[in-house]
Protein backbone atom coordinates (compact mmCIF):
# COMPACT_ATOMS: atom_id res chain seq x y z
CA UNK A 1 0.00 0.00 0.00
CA UNK A 2 2.63 2.56 0.99
CA UNK A 3 6.25 1.91 0.22
CA UNK A 4 8.89 3.27 2.52
CA UNK A 5 10.46 6.53 1.48
CA UNK A 6 13.98 5.19 2.06
CA UNK A 7 13.91 2.13 -0.22
CA UNK A 8 16.60 3.75 -2.37
CA UNK A 9 18.81 4.63 0.61
CA UNK A 10 21.14 1.78 -0.34
CA UNK A 11 22.31 3.38 -3.59
CA UNK A 12 25.57 5.25 -3.81
CA UNK A 13 25.77 8.86 -4.95
CA UNK A 14 27.24 12.16 -3.73
CA UNK A 15 23.85 12.93 -2.14
CA UNK A 16 23.82 9.57 -0.33
CA UNK A 17 27.28 10.27 1.04
CA UNK A 18 26.30 13.78 2.17
CA UNK A 19 26.05 14.19 5.96
CA UNK A 20 22.31 13.84 6.81
CA UNK A 21 22.32 16.80 9.19
CA UNK A 22 23.66 19.26 6.60
CA UNK A 23 21.55 17.60 3.91
CA UNK A 24 18.29 18.14 5.78
CA UNK A 25 19.12 21.74 6.70
CA UNK A 26 20.41 22.76 3.25
CA UNK A 27 17.51 21.29 1.29
CA UNK A 28 14.93 22.68 3.73
CA UNK A 29 16.52 26.11 3.27
CA UNK A 30 16.21 25.67 -0.47
CA UNK A 31 12.52 24.64 -0.25
CA UNK A 32 11.61 27.64 1.90
CA UNK A 33 13.60 29.94 -0.36
CA UNK A 34 11.74 28.70 -3.46
CA UNK A 35 8.38 29.17 -1.74
CA UNK A 36 9.23 32.83 -1.06
CA UNK A 37 9.90 33.34 -4.75
CA UNK A 38 7.33 35.01 -7.01
CA UNK A 39 9.05 35.06 -10.39
CA UNK A 40 8.04 32.48 -12.99
CA UNK A 41 11.42 32.26 -14.76
CA UNK A 42 13.33 31.74 -11.52
CA UNK A 43 10.75 29.23 -10.28
CA UNK A 44 11.33 27.23 -13.45
CA UNK A 45 15.09 27.52 -12.92
CA UNK A 46 14.59 26.17 -9.38
CA UNK A 47 12.65 23.23 -10.72
CA UNK A 48 15.53 22.41 -13.08
CA UNK A 49 17.92 22.62 -10.12
CA UNK A 50 15.67 20.20 -8.21
CA UNK A 51 15.64 17.81 -11.19
CA UNK A 52 19.45 17.94 -11.31
CA UNK A 53 19.62 17.09 -7.58
CA UNK A 54 17.27 14.15 -8.12
CA UNK A 55 19.36 13.03 -11.10
CA UNK A 56 22.58 13.14 -9.05
CA UNK A 57 20.89 11.22 -6.23
CA UNK A 58 20.10 8.39 -8.73
CA UNK A 59 16.62 7.88 -7.27
CA UNK A 60 14.54 6.61 -10.22
CA UNK A 61 12.23 9.26 -11.68
CA UNK A 62 9.45 6.67 -11.98
CA UNK A 63 9.41 6.32 -8.18
CA UNK A 64 9.11 10.08 -7.77
CA UNK A 65 6.50 10.48 -10.54
CA UNK A 66 4.19 8.10 -8.71
CA UNK A 67 4.34 10.33 -5.64
CA UNK A 68 4.08 13.59 -7.57
CA UNK A 69 0.69 12.41 -8.82
CA UNK A 70 -0.93 13.23 -5.47
CA UNK A 71 0.41 16.75 -5.33
CA UNK A 72 -0.64 17.30 -8.91
CA UNK A 73 -4.20 16.15 -8.12
CA UNK A 74 -4.35 18.72 -5.35
CA UNK A 75 -3.10 21.66 -7.40
CA UNK A 76 -5.00 20.70 -10.56
CA UNK A 77 -8.17 22.64 -9.56
CA UNK A 78 -6.02 25.76 -9.26
CA UNK A 79 -4.73 25.28 -12.78
CA UNK A 80 -8.20 24.67 -14.21
CA UNK A 81 -10.34 27.05 -12.16
CA UNK A 82 -8.03 29.93 -11.24
CA UNK A 83 -7.74 31.63 -14.65
CA UNK A 84 -11.52 31.91 -14.94
CA UNK A 85 -14.04 33.81 -12.88
CA UNK A 86 -17.78 34.31 -12.76
CA UNK A 87 -17.81 37.39 -10.54
CA UNK A 88 -14.55 39.29 -11.04
CA UNK A 89 -13.21 41.41 -13.88
CA UNK A 90 -12.09 39.82 -17.12
CA UNK A 91 -12.76 39.12 -20.76
CA UNK A 92 -16.07 37.45 -21.41
CA UNK A 93 -15.64 34.11 -23.13
CA UNK A 94 -18.82 32.13 -22.62
CA UNK A 95 -22.37 32.22 -21.31
CA UNK A 96 -23.68 29.14 -19.55
CA UNK A 97 -27.30 29.85 -18.73
CA UNK A 98 -27.34 33.01 -16.66
CA UNK A 99 -23.68 32.68 -15.69
CA UNK A 100 -21.00 34.59 -17.58
CA UNK A 101 -17.60 32.97 -17.64
CA UNK A 102 -14.72 35.46 -17.67
CA UNK A 103 -11.07 34.88 -18.49
CA UNK A 104 -8.72 36.74 -16.16
CA UNK A 105 -5.91 37.14 -18.63
CA UNK A 106 -2.47 35.66 -19.20
CA UNK A 107 -1.12 36.81 -15.79
CA UNK A 108 -3.54 34.53 -14.00
CA UNK A 109 -2.43 31.57 -16.14
CA UNK A 110 1.18 32.40 -15.23
CA UNK A 111 0.22 32.58 -11.56
CA UNK A 112 -1.54 29.21 -11.73
CA UNK A 113 1.43 27.61 -13.52
CA UNK A 114 3.76 29.05 -10.87
CA UNK A 115 1.67 27.52 -8.08
CA UNK A 116 1.81 24.11 -9.74
CA UNK A 117 5.56 24.23 -10.41
CA UNK A 118 6.35 25.39 -6.86
CA UNK A 119 4.27 22.60 -5.34
CA UNK A 120 5.89 19.95 -7.56
CA UNK A 121 9.42 21.31 -6.93
CA UNK A 122 9.10 21.25 -3.17
CA UNK A 123 7.88 17.66 -3.26
CA UNK A 124 10.63 16.62 -5.64
CA UNK A 125 13.26 18.01 -3.26
CA UNK A 126 11.95 15.80 -0.46
CA UNK A 127 13.44 12.76 -2.21
CA UNK A 128 17.10 13.77 -2.23
CA UNK A 129 16.57 15.14 1.29
CA UNK A 130 15.29 12.05 3.11
CA UNK A 131 15.10 9.39 0.44
CA UNK A 132 18.87 9.06 0.39
CA UNK A 133 19.45 8.04 4.01
CA UNK A 134 17.91 5.26 6.04
CA UNK A 135 15.02 6.60 8.10
CA UNK A 136 16.64 5.75 11.45
CA UNK A 137 19.76 7.67 10.37
CA UNK A 138 17.63 10.69 9.41
CA UNK A 139 15.85 10.53 12.75
CA UNK A 140 19.20 10.40 14.53
CA UNK A 141 20.28 13.44 12.50
CA UNK A 142 17.17 15.31 13.66
CA UNK A 143 18.07 14.45 17.24
CA UNK A 144 21.60 15.75 16.67
CA UNK A 145 20.05 18.98 15.38
CA UNK A 146 18.43 19.42 18.81
CA UNK A 147 14.84 18.93 17.78
CA UNK A 148 12.74 18.45 20.97
CA UNK A 149 13.34 14.89 22.16
CA UNK A 150 9.65 14.10 22.57
CA UNK A 151 9.01 15.03 18.94
CA UNK A 152 11.91 12.86 17.77
CA UNK A 153 10.60 9.89 19.75
CA UNK A 154 7.10 10.38 18.38
CA UNK A 155 8.51 10.51 14.85
CA UNK A 156 10.47 7.31 15.35
CA UNK A 157 7.56 5.38 16.88
CA UNK A 158 4.94 6.70 14.49
CA UNK A 159 7.10 5.83 11.50
CA UNK A 160 7.17 2.21 12.66
CA UNK A 161 3.47 2.04 13.45
CA UNK A 162 2.41 3.42 10.08
CA UNK A 163 3.53 0.21 8.41
CA UNK A 164 2.17 -2.00 11.19
CA UNK A 165 -1.23 -0.30 11.06
CA UNK A 166 -1.54 -0.20 7.29
CA UNK A 167 -0.63 -3.91 7.09
CA UNK A 168 -3.16 -4.78 9.76
CA UNK A 169 -5.78 -2.63 8.09
CA UNK A 170 -5.24 -4.52 4.84
CA UNK A 171 -5.58 -7.83 6.68
CA UNK A 172 -8.80 -6.63 8.24
CA UNK A 173 -10.17 -5.46 4.92
CA UNK A 174 -9.32 -8.77 3.33
CA UNK A 175 -11.18 -10.64 6.04
CA UNK A 176 -14.16 -8.32 5.60
CA UNK A 177 -14.10 -8.91 1.85
CA UNK A 178 -13.92 -12.66 2.33
CA UNK A 179 -17.13 -12.40 4.32
CA UNK A 180 -18.80 -10.60 1.42
CA UNK A 181 -18.28 -6.98 2.49
CA UNK A 182 -18.09 -4.38 -0.28
CA UNK A 183 -17.29 -0.66 0.08
CA UNK A 184 -20.29 1.35 -1.05
CA UNK A 185 -21.42 4.93 -0.48
CA UNK A 186 -23.83 4.10 2.33
CA UNK A 187 -24.17 4.28 6.08
CA UNK A 188 -23.60 0.56 6.53
CA UNK A 189 -20.15 0.78 4.92
CA UNK A 190 -19.11 3.67 7.15
CA UNK A 191 -20.30 2.03 10.36
CA UNK A 192 -18.73 -1.34 9.52
CA UNK A 193 -15.39 0.23 8.62
CA UNK A 194 -15.50 2.42 11.74
CA UNK A 195 -15.99 -0.58 13.98
CA UNK A 196 -13.26 -2.51 12.19
CA UNK A 197 -10.87 0.41 12.62
CA UNK A 198 -11.86 0.81 16.28
CA UNK A 199 -10.91 -2.84 16.91
CA UNK A 200 -7.66 -2.21 15.11
CA UNK A 201 -6.91 0.73 17.42
CA UNK A 202 -7.51 -1.25 20.57
CA UNK A 203 -5.26 -4.06 19.32
CA UNK A 204 -2.50 -1.69 18.19
CA UNK A 205 -2.70 0.35 21.37
CA UNK A 206 -2.21 -2.72 23.55
CA UNK A 207 0.62 -3.92 21.35
CA UNK A 208 2.29 -0.49 21.38
CA UNK A 209 2.18 -0.34 25.16
CA UNK A 210 3.70 -3.81 25.49
CA UNK A 211 6.49 -2.92 23.06
CA UNK A 212 7.20 0.38 24.81
CA UNK A 213 7.42 -1.18 28.29
CA UNK A 214 9.57 -4.01 26.94
CA UNK A 215 11.92 -1.43 25.44
CA UNK A 216 12.09 0.52 28.69
CA UNK A 217 12.77 -2.59 30.73
CA UNK A 218 15.74 -3.23 28.42
CA UNK A 219 17.15 0.22 29.11
CA UNK A 220 15.57 2.45 26.47
CA UNK A 221 15.79 6.04 27.73
CA UNK A 222 14.49 7.93 24.72
CA UNK A 223 17.81 8.27 22.92
CA UNK A 224 18.12 7.10 19.34
CA UNK A 225 20.84 4.49 19.21
CA UNK A 226 22.27 3.48 15.86
CA UNK A 227 25.68 2.24 14.82
CA UNK A 228 25.93 5.26 12.54
CA UNK A 229 28.39 7.98 13.60
CA UNK A 230 28.27 11.37 11.92
CA UNK A 231 31.44 13.04 10.68
CA UNK A 232 31.67 16.25 8.71
CA UNK A 233 34.05 16.22 5.74
CA UNK A 234 34.94 19.15 3.45
CA UNK A 235 32.73 17.57 0.73
CA UNK A 236 29.69 17.89 3.06
CA UNK A 237 30.30 21.60 3.47
CA UNK A 238 30.87 22.01 -0.26
CA UNK A 239 27.45 20.45 -1.01
CA UNK A 240 25.80 22.66 1.59
CA UNK A 241 27.41 25.77 0.05
CA UNK A 242 26.19 24.80 -3.44
CA UNK A 243 22.57 24.16 -2.35
CA UNK A 244 22.29 27.11 0.05
CA UNK A 245 24.13 29.23 -2.50
CA UNK A 246 21.43 28.51 -5.05
CA UNK A 247 18.76 29.31 -2.44
CA UNK A 248 20.34 32.73 -1.91
CA UNK A 249 21.12 33.25 -5.61
CA UNK A 250 17.46 33.10 -6.71
CA UNK A 251 16.58 35.93 -4.33
CA UNK A 252 19.59 38.03 -5.31
CA UNK A 253 18.51 37.51 -8.93
CA UNK A 254 15.02 38.82 -8.13
CA UNK A 255 16.50 41.84 -6.38
CA UNK A 256 18.91 42.51 -9.23
CA UNK A 257 16.11 42.02 -11.78
CA UNK A 258 13.83 44.56 -10.13
CA UNK A 259 16.65 47.11 -9.82
CA UNK A 260 17.41 46.69 -13.51
CA UNK A 261 13.69 47.13 -14.27
CA UNK A 262 13.73 50.58 -12.67
Amino acid sequence: MISEIDIYAGLSSPIHRWDPRLKVISILTLIFSIMLLYDLKLVIASMLFAIILVYISRIPFSFIAGRLKWVFLFVLPFLIILPFTVIGEGVEIAHIGSITLNFRGIESVEFAVMIVIKALTSVMLIFPMIGTSRMDVTIKALEDLHLPNKLVQMLAFTYRYIFVLSDEFMLMERSLTSRGFKRRSNLYTIITLSKAIATLFVMSFEQAERVFYAMRSKGYKGKVTTMHEFTLRPQDWFNAVVVCGFAIFIHVAVLYGTLEGI
Binding site: I126, S185, L193, K195
Partner: protein, 204 residues
Protein backbone atom coordinates in the same frame (compact mmCIF):
# COMPACT_ATOMS: atom_id res chain seq x y z
CA UNK B 1 -7.49 18.24 0.51
CA UNK B 2 -7.52 20.07 3.83
CA UNK B 3 -3.76 20.04 3.72
CA UNK B 4 -2.79 22.83 1.42
CA UNK B 5 0.25 22.55 -0.86
CA UNK B 6 3.26 24.81 -1.07
CA UNK B 7 3.22 28.07 -2.95
CA UNK B 8 -0.48 28.92 -2.76
CA UNK B 9 -1.01 30.89 0.45
CA UNK B 10 0.44 34.35 1.10
CA UNK B 11 3.83 34.22 2.83
CA UNK B 12 2.74 36.01 6.00
CA UNK B 13 -0.11 33.49 6.36
CA UNK B 14 2.03 30.34 6.36
CA UNK B 15 4.66 32.22 8.34
CA UNK B 16 2.22 33.01 11.14
CA UNK B 17 1.01 29.40 10.88
CA UNK B 18 4.49 28.28 11.98
CA UNK B 19 4.53 30.80 14.85
CA UNK B 20 1.15 29.64 16.21
CA UNK B 21 2.08 25.98 15.79
CA UNK B 22 5.43 26.45 17.54
CA UNK B 23 3.72 28.14 20.49
CA UNK B 24 0.99 25.50 20.93
CA UNK B 25 3.51 22.68 20.39
CA UNK B 26 5.84 24.06 23.06
CA UNK B 27 2.95 24.19 25.52
CA UNK B 28 1.48 20.75 24.75
CA UNK B 29 4.86 19.01 24.65
CA UNK B 30 5.54 20.32 28.14
CA UNK B 31 2.28 18.74 29.30
CA UNK B 32 3.11 15.44 27.60
CA UNK B 33 4.50 12.53 29.62
CA UNK B 34 6.94 9.96 28.28
CA UNK B 35 4.36 7.24 29.01
CA UNK B 36 2.00 8.93 26.55
CA UNK B 37 4.28 8.06 23.64
CA UNK B 38 2.83 4.62 22.74
CA UNK B 39 -0.76 5.89 22.70
CA UNK B 40 0.21 9.06 20.84
CA UNK B 41 2.20 7.16 18.24
CA UNK B 42 -0.57 4.67 17.52
CA UNK B 43 -3.16 7.41 17.07
CA UNK B 44 -0.76 9.51 15.00
CA UNK B 45 -0.07 6.54 12.74
CA UNK B 46 -3.83 6.04 12.53
CA UNK B 47 -4.42 9.63 11.48
CA UNK B 48 -1.78 9.11 8.83
CA UNK B 49 -3.15 5.80 7.57
CA UNK B 50 -6.68 7.23 7.58
CA UNK B 51 -5.69 9.61 4.82
CA UNK B 52 -5.22 6.53 2.63
CA UNK B 53 -8.82 5.42 3.10
CA UNK B 54 -10.75 6.90 0.22
CA UNK B 55 -14.49 7.12 -0.12
CA UNK B 56 -16.06 7.58 -3.49
CA UNK B 57 -18.48 10.47 -3.13
CA UNK B 58 -20.10 11.58 -6.34
CA UNK B 59 -17.50 12.49 -8.93
CA UNK B 60 -14.64 13.00 -6.51
CA UNK B 61 -12.91 10.86 -3.95
CA UNK B 62 -12.37 12.17 -0.44
CA UNK B 63 -10.35 10.78 2.41
CA UNK B 64 -10.67 10.74 6.18
CA UNK B 65 -9.06 13.45 8.29
CA UNK B 66 -9.58 12.06 11.83
CA UNK B 67 -8.69 15.30 13.59
CA UNK B 68 -11.86 15.09 15.70
CA UNK B 69 -10.98 11.53 16.60
CA UNK B 70 -7.53 12.69 17.73
CA UNK B 71 -9.17 15.34 19.91
CA UNK B 72 -11.57 12.82 21.48
CA UNK B 73 -8.84 10.28 22.29
CA UNK B 74 -5.82 12.47 23.04
CA UNK B 75 -7.17 15.72 24.48
CA UNK B 76 -4.69 18.56 24.07
CA UNK B 77 -2.05 16.10 22.87
CA UNK B 78 -4.03 15.99 19.62
CA UNK B 79 -1.97 18.99 18.56
CA UNK B 80 1.47 17.31 18.52
CA UNK B 81 -0.25 14.23 17.07
CA UNK B 82 -1.58 16.17 14.11
CA UNK B 83 1.73 17.97 13.68
CA UNK B 84 3.64 14.68 13.41
CA UNK B 85 0.96 13.16 11.16
CA UNK B 86 1.26 16.10 8.79
CA UNK B 87 5.06 15.99 8.81
CA UNK B 88 4.83 12.30 7.92
CA UNK B 89 2.21 12.92 5.25
CA UNK B 90 4.35 15.57 3.65
CA UNK B 91 7.61 13.69 3.71
CA UNK B 92 6.47 10.10 3.16
CA UNK B 93 3.36 10.47 1.11
CA UNK B 94 3.89 13.92 -0.45
CA UNK B 95 0.48 15.06 0.70
CA UNK B 96 0.46 18.78 1.43
CA UNK B 97 3.49 21.03 1.48
CA UNK B 98 6.69 21.64 3.45
CA UNK B 99 6.33 25.35 4.17
CA UNK B 100 2.63 24.88 4.93
CA UNK B 101 3.04 22.27 7.70
CA UNK B 102 2.66 25.07 10.26
CA UNK B 103 -0.57 26.51 8.89
CA UNK B 104 -2.00 23.06 8.12
CA UNK B 105 -1.39 22.04 11.72
CA UNK B 106 -3.30 25.14 12.81
CA UNK B 107 -6.13 24.33 10.39
CA UNK B 108 -6.54 20.78 11.68
CA UNK B 109 -5.11 21.03 15.19
CA UNK B 110 -7.04 23.99 16.54
CA UNK B 111 -10.40 22.43 15.49
CA UNK B 112 -9.19 19.18 17.11
CA UNK B 113 -8.60 21.07 20.37
CA UNK B 114 -12.05 22.65 20.09
CA UNK B 115 -13.66 19.27 19.42
CA UNK B 116 -11.94 17.94 22.55
CA UNK B 117 -13.47 20.79 24.57
CA UNK B 118 -16.89 20.05 23.09
CA UNK B 119 -16.55 16.35 23.89
CA UNK B 120 -15.39 17.12 27.43
CA UNK B 121 -18.20 19.60 28.03
CA UNK B 122 -20.69 17.14 26.53
CA UNK B 123 -19.62 14.33 28.83
CA UNK B 124 -19.97 16.59 31.87
CA UNK B 125 -23.37 17.80 30.74
CA UNK B 126 -24.82 14.26 30.76
CA UNK B 127 -28.05 14.95 28.90
CA UNK B 128 -29.42 11.59 29.93
CA UNK B 129 -29.16 9.52 26.77
CA UNK B 130 -27.65 6.05 26.94
CA UNK B 131 -25.11 6.64 24.17
CA UNK B 132 -23.56 9.84 25.42
CA UNK B 133 -20.07 9.16 24.03
CA UNK B 134 -21.41 8.28 20.62
CA UNK B 135 -23.53 11.43 20.40
CA UNK B 136 -20.86 13.90 21.47
CA UNK B 137 -18.17 12.00 19.59
CA UNK B 138 -20.18 12.51 16.42
CA UNK B 139 -20.61 16.22 17.11
CA UNK B 140 -16.89 16.59 17.89
CA UNK B 141 -15.88 14.67 14.75
CA UNK B 142 -18.13 16.69 12.47
CA UNK B 143 -17.20 20.06 13.92
CA UNK B 144 -13.47 19.33 13.72
CA UNK B 145 -13.63 18.90 9.94
CA UNK B 146 -16.15 21.71 9.41
CA UNK B 147 -13.92 24.17 11.27
CA UNK B 148 -10.84 22.95 9.39
CA UNK B 149 -12.54 23.60 6.06
CA UNK B 150 -13.75 26.98 7.31
CA UNK B 151 -10.23 28.01 8.33
CA UNK B 152 -8.85 26.86 5.00
CA UNK B 153 -11.56 28.77 3.10
CA UNK B 154 -10.83 31.96 5.04
CA UNK B 155 -7.09 31.61 4.35
CA UNK B 156 -7.64 31.08 0.64
CA UNK B 157 -9.93 34.11 0.45
CA UNK B 158 -7.49 36.31 2.39
CA UNK B 159 -4.71 35.28 -0.01
CA UNK B 160 -6.53 36.57 -3.04
CA UNK B 161 -9.87 37.40 -4.58
CA UNK B 162 -8.88 35.25 -7.58
CA UNK B 163 -9.18 32.13 -5.41
CA UNK B 164 -12.94 32.58 -4.80
CA UNK B 165 -14.01 29.87 -7.24
CA UNK B 166 -11.39 27.40 -6.00
CA UNK B 167 -12.53 28.00 -2.43
CA UNK B 168 -16.15 27.27 -3.30
CA UNK B 169 -15.06 24.01 -4.92
CA UNK B 170 -12.99 22.97 -1.90
CA UNK B 171 -15.81 23.72 0.57
CA UNK B 172 -18.43 21.75 -1.36
CA UNK B 173 -16.12 18.77 -1.85
CA UNK B 174 -15.81 18.51 1.93
CA UNK B 175 -19.45 18.35 2.95
CA UNK B 176 -19.51 14.53 2.59
CA UNK B 177 -16.27 14.27 4.61
CA UNK B 178 -17.89 16.16 7.48
CA UNK B 179 -20.78 13.67 7.56
CA UNK B 180 -18.55 10.60 7.27
CA UNK B 181 -16.22 11.84 10.01
CA UNK B 182 -19.12 12.61 12.32
CA UNK B 183 -20.48 9.06 12.00
CA UNK B 184 -17.00 7.55 12.21
CA UNK B 185 -15.94 9.46 15.32
CA UNK B 186 -19.30 8.78 16.96
CA UNK B 187 -19.10 5.02 16.35
CA UNK B 188 -15.50 4.85 17.56
CA UNK B 189 -16.16 6.91 20.69
CA UNK B 190 -19.13 4.68 21.53
CA UNK B 191 -17.07 1.55 20.86
CA UNK B 192 -14.09 2.69 22.94
CA UNK B 193 -16.32 3.75 25.84
CA UNK B 194 -17.43 0.11 26.16
CA UNK B 195 -14.30 -1.79 25.11
CA UNK B 196 -11.36 0.36 26.21
CA UNK B 197 -12.43 3.50 28.09
CA UNK B 198 -8.82 4.43 28.96
CA UNK B 199 -8.23 5.29 25.30
CA UNK B 200 -10.67 8.19 25.55
CA UNK B 201 -9.37 11.53 26.79
CA UNK B 202 -12.10 11.71 29.45
CA UNK B 203 -11.77 9.90 32.75
CA UNK B 204 -15.05 8.56 34.02
Amino acid sequence: MVHISDGILATWLWGSGWVITAAILAYTLKKMKIDDIPKLSVITAAVFVASLIHFQVGPTSVHMVLSGFAGVTLGILAYPCIFIALVMQTFLFQHGGVTTIGINTVNMGVPALISFLIFKAGMKLNIGISKNEMFFGAIAGGIAVALAVLLLAVELLITGEELTEVTTFVVFAHIPVILVEAIFTGVIAGFLAIVKPEMLSIKK
